[in-house]
Amino acid sequence: MAVEEKTIEETKWQLFWNGFKPYVLALLIAFAISGAIIGLLGYNIPKAYQTLLFTSFTSRRGFIETLKKFIPLTFATYAFAIPFRIRFFNIGGWGQMLFGGAMTAIVGIALSGFNLPAVIFIPTLLIVAMIAGALFAVIAGFLKAYYNINPIISTIMLNFIAFYFVNFIATNEPWKAPLSGHPMTLRLPEAAILPKLFGQIHLGIVVVGIAIFAIYFLMNRTVLGYEIKATGLNPDASSVYGIKMKRTLMITFLIAGAMGGLGGGIEVMGVHSRLIEGFALTSGAQYGIFGILTALICQGNPLGVPISALFISILLVGADAMQRTLQVPVELVFLTQAIIVLLIVILRRKAGGSFIE
């Protein structure tokens, strides 16, 4: 008996290592490649790496910047990761953030005359952001379920709609801020703005924590989460055993959109205090794209999402610092990230791993 258990123990450890090996290898190879490029371009390699990897930990500002990116990035990652569980691609995380943010601003401004206390105002707006994002995303789910339109196409189109919707709100009465050069709305009432907890870090970090727990619970403990998982593992068998594909599909888009919308709403309520055109951007690229990349690194695993998002946030902060202090172009880090994702996908396939777990 004892011997048998030991072998099982070993295989478990092996499984664990087999699961991690592709990540370790991918990181090492990707950093080696980007290191070579940094060197070829004539920059100081150790210094570049030091800045890239440790800025988040060596200064208070770096740490705060990292968390500021981590909040929206985690939501954008969930927006992609959840439909990815059943092998649909939600490219619309960005649009869902924009739409959630815009609706938050509209409702926030509309309610500004009521003098609501923060304990009511803030949760109300967070719920508005979630509902807005969910409804916006479920359009793509609906089009797939009933008209068989690929969500990749519909969500990209919805991104444009969301972008110009934000633009419209930010440049038209009664929302637009008078006398501002950049398109933006009026400031939200004070009671609608997320309070700062430390430095620039606002209540959004707590909301992220709740969201991480809620998604974990939903995916791992509930019947709905089980049905999503089963559909992802084998849509044919799931449908034979009574799990409705169309329903599951629409629900994953609802959850994804709710996450995206919440991410957008929190940016509006916590960072800018108003809707600003181009608010869901970081390092010159939109969070939606980083969300896809981040979700691919963890293969859509709900528990992997925050880890992966933290890692990418560290790189993004490090990349900005590297550009500022060493003039190493930030694009080099985007390149590294892209190589990491490609390598992880390749190495996992080679190891016989599945596309999703």
Binding site: I8, R221, T222, V223, Y226, A230, L233, N234, D236
Partner: protein, 511 residues
């Protein structure tokens, strides 16, 4: 030392996949012009051995000799050059090409134009010689499985194969077609072809082969001359001391007790018509029958005649276009699968990997499938994983599933073990009706016996069993009645005292 008289010989071939030793020092040889049966249960390593000989897998250890000459196969191209041809269990033809196009595909390497005329002439001669007739200008996707097999055999011979490996060639054939195939094989042997005939049916080996080798668990148990050996000799080699009584058709003998069937039918189909969910499926046309409690109603038919649609119309009555279906006297037209399952009905589909299980999920995930909304397994939408875990453990213990624990990925288990989990899952609730489609396909003898016993047990408990199967021998073993399905219609229903392989077989092909 190698023997020059042997057409093919392997020495100590070993092959493992991860921790599984699929072949362990296997010695195997072929005499010129024989039909050599390779017998073994599913998972015994038969296909692995042949895939090594065909160059699809590279052996870890050991040597292969062809007519005394040592050979290295790195891909099927090498083995085809040495005259080895393989007919796989599932078709490897291009469905959109005609039979003729498939036959010449890849053979006219150096020519810029396809000289079909010459090839056609040669192929017609081969067809004539071996009695393998089929239309050359019909797209392969429109040909039935039995004909596709003929195309594949001719293709191998046309490419110059003189050692032909047939992997479970009888799976989709009726009795008559099997006899035809046998005649063709004998003709090929007379023309100098040597044949390896892979099967798990002892009866077929005795009928078709000159010699037979038995593999179990990747180990070669020995080779017998089938002209001298009896069924019992082969059984001993296959099962060793493990005793299973089997019939002449090499299926386990099951004691089917007398039971009184229920007075009222459990399930009634009255003139049911339904469109197939699949593009090239068969629509159901005015199907009428009853099943009573404590009765096994067998459904016989050639694969693809509406069996799947019949099963699906019962578990998903939403799909019915015409007619009335009722369960225990209550009309169930239009209700959802979940509702049907909640009425003590369950379904074990035909395609185990595709439709029964979540291959990438663990055993627990799979035990819950189909039960996830039952009160037993959830409260207010939260899964009771403890209960699922307990039931998974019980299934593993009660049905002797070979697995370290309930967290093992189910896709890594053997077919027999997967089916034990699937059946265990189906039996978690008391059943009024079980719909099952080929539950024994591809299973080893012990697992086939296991499945049969469960079906008969259910029958004794008063459950109605709709047992769809393409294997007539198996149907006749356990069914109380057998309905024959042809082109989406139930064309006849035979009572137990009328069971006759040839009569039922001829109804199956539309006679």
């Amino acid at each position: 030392m190698t023997n020059k008289n042997k057409v093919l010989e392997t020495k100590n071939i070993s092959k493992s996949f991860g921790s599984v030793q699929a072949l362990d020092k296997v010695n195997f040889d072929l005499n010129e012009g024989e039909i050599h049966g390779l017998l073994g249960e599913n998972g015994a390593g038969k296909s692995t051995l042949m895939n090594v000989l065909y160059g699809l897998y590279k052996e870890d250890e050991g040597e292969i000799y062809i007519r005394g000459e040592k050979v290295e196969f790195n891909s099927p191209i090498d083995s085809i050059k040495k005259g080895i041809g393989m007919i796989h269990q599932s078709s490897t033809l291009v469905p959109e090409f005609t039979a003729l196009e498939n036959l010449i595909l890849g053979t006219e390497g150096n020519k810029m134009t396809l000289e079909l005329k010459d090839s056609e002439q040669k192929i017609l001669e081969l067809q004539e010689d071996f009695g393998l007739k089929f239309p050359l200008n019909v797209k392969v996707k429109n040909l039935p499985a039995g004909i596709k097999q003929k195309v594949e055999i001719i293709r191998a011979i046309y490419r110059g194969a003189n050692i032909l490996i047939l992997d479970e060639p009888t799976t989709s054939l009726v009795a008559e077609e099997f006899e035809q195939l046998l005649k063709s094989l004998k003709k090929m042997v007379n023309n100098g072809v040597t044949i390896v005939f892979i099967t798990h049916k002892i009866k077929e080996v005795l009928q078709a082969c000159d010699r037979a080798s038995v593999l179990t668990g990747g180990v070669m148990q020995g080779t017998l001359n089938t002209k001298k050996a009896s069924k019992d000799d082969l059984v001993k080699l296959m099962f060793g001391t493990h005793e299973i009584d089997i019939t002449e058709s090499a299926i386990p003998i099951i004691d089917v007790p007398e039971v009184e069937k229920s007075k009222e039918p459990i399930l009634t189909l009255n003139n049911i018509s339904a469109k197939s969910k699949e593009k090239d499926g068969t629509d159901l046309k005015s199907v009428t029958f009853d099943i009573y409690g404590a009765e096994i109603l067998g459904i016989a038919g050639i694969s693809g005649n509406g069996q799947k649609e019949l099963a699906e119309v019962i578990i998903d009555p939403n799909n019915i276009t015409e007619g009335e279906i009722s369960l225990k006297g209550e009309k169930i037209n239009g209700i959802t699968t979940n509702k049907v399952f909640s009425k003590n009905v369950t379904y074990i589909p035909e395609d185990r990997k595709k439709e029964s299980i979540l291959g990438l999920g663990n055993i627990k995930d799979n035990v819950l499938l189909g039960h996830q909304r039952e009160k037993k397994y959830q409260s207010s939408g939260i899964v009771k994983w403890d209960k699922v875990k307990q039931d998974a453990k019980n299934i593993i213990k009660e049905y002797q599933v070979k697995t370290p624990d309930e967290n093992k990925r189910i896709g890594k288990l053997s077919g027999g073990n997967i089916q034990r989990v699937v059946i265990g899952r189906a039996l978690l609730n008391d059943l009024d009706l079980l719909v099952t489609h080929s539950p024994t396909a591809g299973l080893d003898m012990a697992s086939v016996e296991f499945v049969f016993k469960r079906l008969v047990e259910l029958r004794s408990k008063g459950t109605a069993v709709l047992y769809i199967n393409e294997d007539l021998d198996e149907l006749m073993e356990v069914s109380d009645r057998i309905g024959v399905i042809h082109e989406g219609k139930i064309v006849d229903i035979f009572e137990k005292d009328q069971f006759d392989k040839y009569k039922i077989g001829s109804k199956m092909i539309g006679g």
